[in-house]
């Protein structure tokens, strides 16, 4: 029979087991009829003949069962039988079952989560029709994806490779819908954006190429579904309504479909506005200048039959033309195509490497889990040696027994896989809805899809197979006569086996993880008491961008002054300051600074880069940044006065040589301005990393450097935990009194810090999770080892007890080996972990290896692990009843 028809037979039998059974009945009946025919011919009457024929046939049921065993139709029934038996066996040892399922749930869950993130970010194309052929353009030389608007137009009109080249950029503004104005993030899109992507409107219409008729010609916006749902309560009559965006009237023309979140992963815009209106959102630079690169991403579908290489060559020839035509603005550059949605190759490689690393780690965890469960299974198989031997002796085939053991393994792995998947799906949903930075509309596209489910299922099956196969050799070797005669073989392995080495390695890795996570947790605990160079307690940050309300030039500082004064009248507010961007907030900008004697102000000649802050005179006091020497700013440090700065100690040391030299000294900015240092403040933390080295920072008076974008720092005289909302509403009402059209974003400084410390908290959290997983794995590993060694030596232990061994001696005999392995592994791991702390110091605040608390914590954790893991086997060893055991053997 060829394999194909065999398979067909097998499958058809599988699907119709009852039909096979009916056929067997038919055949047996036919046989009995024929026999009866013969008997009738020899002279019996019919009923008698049939009775005799039936008797002669023999045990009909027995033969039918035998047929079932051999024929294909029994697959399902045997499976059901095996499942029922496995379930009974597993329920009889709930501790083992729970440990095994939990281990697998964790390991498979971890894999599913990492894979889902990898899948969502890198494997799945953007959620637009035909997303596979969508490419973004980047400049080859510097991997720069941002283009100028005129360059985009040239690329769009001159290329012959794309169906259409669309563009978008990320903008923010103040949206006034008649209620409180709000601070919104949106896309500026090219007219052909939706057409090029093939997006259909959910309501009304989308922005079209015909909307573009020169600068500021298209006062239309298209809402995202989520924003329409959240802000306009699914109001279908919204189309045609006029809202104010940065005080300019805009007509809502439609709503985008629910599953379209823009073309950048992570960031989903509130709405879409035409790019040609750029000037209404960014007044400070000419959007039509070729040297002004602000178009965030240019993307499109390739024409059918055009390869990415051909398209890149086509674009590069346009790049050559641009360089010839505009040598001042466009340097010689080639173009390449990248996957859209991740900002070109800017951070994709790092993220991909990080995720790939995580995936490998998760895979290793799963492998280790399989190895441990394999040991556990081997221990159980050894325990069940007699049962297996009996079954073999009674005529059960080895395949049948292996199949049953395998069923048990797969049952556990599928249950564990299902539990892990459920857990990871819950986690992923949390992750998709997560907003670590409340001011940005985010979209983390990691919700699980079929791929994730398939991978989880596959992993569960493979791991079940992997650990199920461990005891196979044991069963195959089983000699029923020997075992039934002599009891399970008590041959002791004193040599070092691969399994021992694996276990030590595993425990060492676990100890490293435990050390690392303890160090990280300690760092986190310390970081809450760290000196930031400012005091974030009881402070509300009020972000405003006056441009959103139509202020410009000298109206900006005047309005900012009015806002500061208004805040100060709120009861319970002790002081109010203004800062361009609070320290540690995302978006800090370093600037090159030069020594006073530098004349050629090229970046290469810079003395250092310093983070710059534009502050009001009250800021330093409000933020509680200590002024060490010199003076603070005064209201007279304005455009008519000499340029002055307050710098931190690091700045003074690095650029001027010393603090003493710095006082009254000068430095230069890249635009040539000469600034005098009038004061020195303490060093603080400025970037979103508590582990940063001291950074030069300079504070400049906001009156000398007007900026429309700034945060008010409002310090209250009481805890903001509960009173926060009250203060916030007071602030909002004051702002409304000043200008009802000004959007503001409020959060406490502590909330803001949570966002700033996001990365290091994430690192701590993942280390913690890894530590827990490592601990789980070690427990199952040691447990399996200890259980195996106890059950193998049960008889020997029994004899020792019978000969009068003390409990301690029994324990020593039973558990010395696993405990020795644990000790070796822990010490190795601890040493490695302390070495790894040097690496951790980059992300964890004050990570130090010589922390007695950490050392004690690791030792305690490992001891606890050992105790938990050896508890049950120890109990078993101690409860050995020699009489029972000897009788049984």
């Amino acid at each position: 029979m060829n394999p194909l028809s065999w398979l067909r037979l097998r499958i058809s039998a599988l699907l119709r087991p009852s039909q096979v059974s009916a056929e067997v009945d038919d055949e047996i009946r036919s046989h009995i009829q024929h026999r009866a025919d013969d008997l009738v011919r020899s002279g019996l009457d019919r009923p008698q003949a049939e009775r005799r024929a039936r008797v002669e046939f023999g045990a009909r049921q027995k033969y039918k069962e035998e047929i079932h065993e051999t024929s294909a139709g029994n697959f399902v029934e045997v499976l059901v039988k095996d499942l029922r038996y496995s379930l009974r066996v597993l329920l009889k040892s709930p501790g083992f079952t729970i440990a095994a399922v939990l281990t697998l749930a964790l390991a498979i869950g971890a894999n599913a989560v990492v894979f889902a993130v990898l899948n969502g970010l890198f494997l799945r194309p953007l959620n637009v029709p035909d997303g596979q052929s969508l490419y973004a353009i980047q400049r080859g030389n510097d991997n720069y994806i941002i283009q100028s608007y005129p360059d985009y137009l040239d690329l769009r009109d001159r290329n012959r490779s794309f169906d259409a080249l669309a563009a978008y950029t990320i903008l923010q503004g103040g949206l006034d819908t008649g209620k409180d104005p709000s601070h919104v993030y949106f896309y500026g899109v090219s007219g052909n954006y939706f057409n090029a992507l093939g997006i259909q409107p959910y309501l009304g219409r989308l922005i079209q190429p015909s909307d573009e008729r020169g600068s500021n010609s298209a006062p239309y916006i298209v809402l995202s579904y989520a924003f329409w749902h959240g802000q306009f309560q699914d109001d279908r009559a919204i189309v045609g309504r006029v809202v104010r965006l940065n005080k300019h009237p805009y007509t809502i023309v439609g709503v985008a479909p629910p599953d379209f979140h823009g073309t950048l992963l992570f960031f989903s815009p509130d709405f879409y506005a035409p790019m040609v209106n750029e000037q209404q959102f960014f007044a400070w630079a000419d959007p039509n200048a070729r040297g002004n690169r602000w178009v965030f991403e240019v993307l499109g579908h390739l024409k059918a039959g055009v390869t990415p290489t051909q398209a890149a060559a086509d674009l590069s020839s346009i790049g050559y033309y641009l360089h010839q035509a505009y040598p001042k603005d466009d340097d010689q550059s080639t173009f390449s195509l990248v996957r859209p949605g991740l900002h070109g190759n800017f951070f994709a490689p790092a993220m991909r490497a990080f995720l790939a690393g995580l995936m490998v780690l998760a895979g290793l965890i799963l492998l280790a889990a399989c190895a441990n469960l394999g040991t556990l299974f081997a221990a159980r198989a050894a325990d069940r040696g007699r049962e297996v031997a009996l079954r073999l002796a009674l005529g059960s085939s080895r395949t049948r027994i292996l199949r049953q053991l395998m069923t048990e393994a797969i049952l556990i792995s599928l249950t564990g896989g299902a539990a892990g998947l459920v857990g990871s799906v819950m986690l992923l949903h949390r992750l998709s809805g997560w907003r670590p930075f409340p001011q940005f509309p985010m979209n983390i596209p990691v919700s699980p899809d079929t791929n994730v489910y398939l991978v989880a299922l596959l992993l569960a099956l493979v791991s079940g197979f992997l650990f199920g196969i461990v005891p196979v050799r044991q069963v195959l070797k089983t000699n029923p006569y020997e075992i039934v005669k002599a009891g399970s073989n008590a041959r002791l392995g004193h040599r070092i086996s691969v399994r021992d080495v694996l276990l030590v390695v595993q425990i060492a890795i676990c100890a490293v993880l435990v050390t690392a996570s303890l160090v990280a947790v300690r760092g986190l605990a310390r970081s809450t008491h760290a000196n930031f160079g400012f005091d974030p307690q009881n402070v509300m940050l009020v972000y405003t961008d006056l441009q959103m309300a139509g202020y410009s030039d000298d109206k900006v500082p005047a309005m900012q002054r009015r806002m500061i004064d208004a805040m100060q009248t709120i009861p319970g507010v002790t002081s109010v300051g203004l800062v361009s961007i609070p320290p540690m907030q995302m978006g800090w900008a370093p600037s090159d600074v030069f020594t006073d004697s530098t004349t050629d102000l090229r970046p290469a000649n810079a003395a250092a880069t310093a983070i710059e802050y534009y502050i009001s005179p009250e800021y330093l006091g409000t933020a509680r940044t200590t002024l060490l020497m010199g003076r603070n700013f005064s209201p007279h440090d304005d455009l008519n006065a000499p340029l002055v700065a307050v710098v931190n100690r690091e700045f003074a040391r690095k650029i001027l040589g010393s603090e003493a030299k710095a006082m009254g000294g000068h430095f230069r900015m890249p635009d040539g301005k000469r600034i005098e240092i009038v004061g020195i403040v303490e060093d603080g933390k400025y970037t979103a990393n508590l582990a940063e080295d001291p950074q030069p920072a300079m504070f400049l008076p906001f009156l000398q450097h007007p900026r429309s974008e700034a945060s008010l720092v409002v310090r209250a005289n009481r805890e903001l935990g509960r009173e926060g909302p009250e203060l916030a509403s007071a602030i909002r009402s004051k702002l409304r009194d000043l200008d009802p059209g000004l959007p503001a974003f409020l959060q406490t400084w502590n909330q803001e810090m949570n966002g700033a410390l996001f990365a290091s908290r994430m690192a701590t959290m993942s280390l913690g999770v890894l530590g827990i997983m490592g601990a789980m794995l070690s427990i199952t590993g040691i447990f399996g080892m200890a259980a195996y060694s106890v059950s193998k030596r049960l008889r020997e232990l029994g004899i020792r007890v019978a000969l009068g061994a003390k409990r301690t001696e029994v324990l020593k005999a039973a558990l010395s080996r696993p405990v020795k392995l644990l000790a070796i592994g822990s010490v190795t791991g601890l040493l490695l972990g302390l070495l790894a702390t040097r690496v951790l110091a980059f992300i964890v605040y004050q990570a130090t290896p010589r922390d007695p608390l950490v050392l004690a914590g690791v030792v305690l954790a490992m001891l606890l692990l050992g105790l938990v893991a050896t508890w049950l086997p120890a109990q078993r060893a101690l409860s050995v009843n020699p009489m029972m055991l000897l009788r049984e053997e």
Partner: protein, 113 residues
């Protein structure tokens, strides 16, 4: 029944193959044919035949199809496949070797051993 020999394990399949090699047969027919060609010297419980038949079908040595018997009854007929024919040849040869060896061993005189 007492003068009938018990089957050695594994020989039933060989007998079935041999019986069917002479032409397609239904189950009862196989039984009769074995009786006929063995001179009724072997005892086979009637039902024991069927697990063997199913096993051989599964191994692809026999193929089965429903038809009408000489008694005008519905019955399942078995016939040899090419693989079955080959197996029969091999098994027959191997059985003969075994039987000859055993027979020769048993017929030796003790002093010659």
């Amino acid at each position: 029944m007492n003068d009938q020999a018990q089957l050695l394990p594994g020989t039933l399949d060989l007998l079935i193959l041999r019986a069917v090699s002479l032409g397609p047969l239904h189950g009862y027919g196989v039984l009769l044919r074995i009786g006929q060609i063995s001179g009724n010297a072997l005892f086979i419980e009637q039902g024991a035949l069927y697990p063997g038949l199913f096993r051989l079908v599964r191994q692809g040595l026999l193929k089965a199809s429903w038809g009408t018997s000489e008694n005008n009854r519905r019955a399942k007929f078995y016939e040899l496949t090419a693989a079955g024919r080959k197996r029969l040849r091999e098994e027959t040869a191997s059985w003969n070797r075994l039987a000859n060896a055993i027979a020769s061993a048993l017929s030796q005189q003790p002093e010659e051993a």
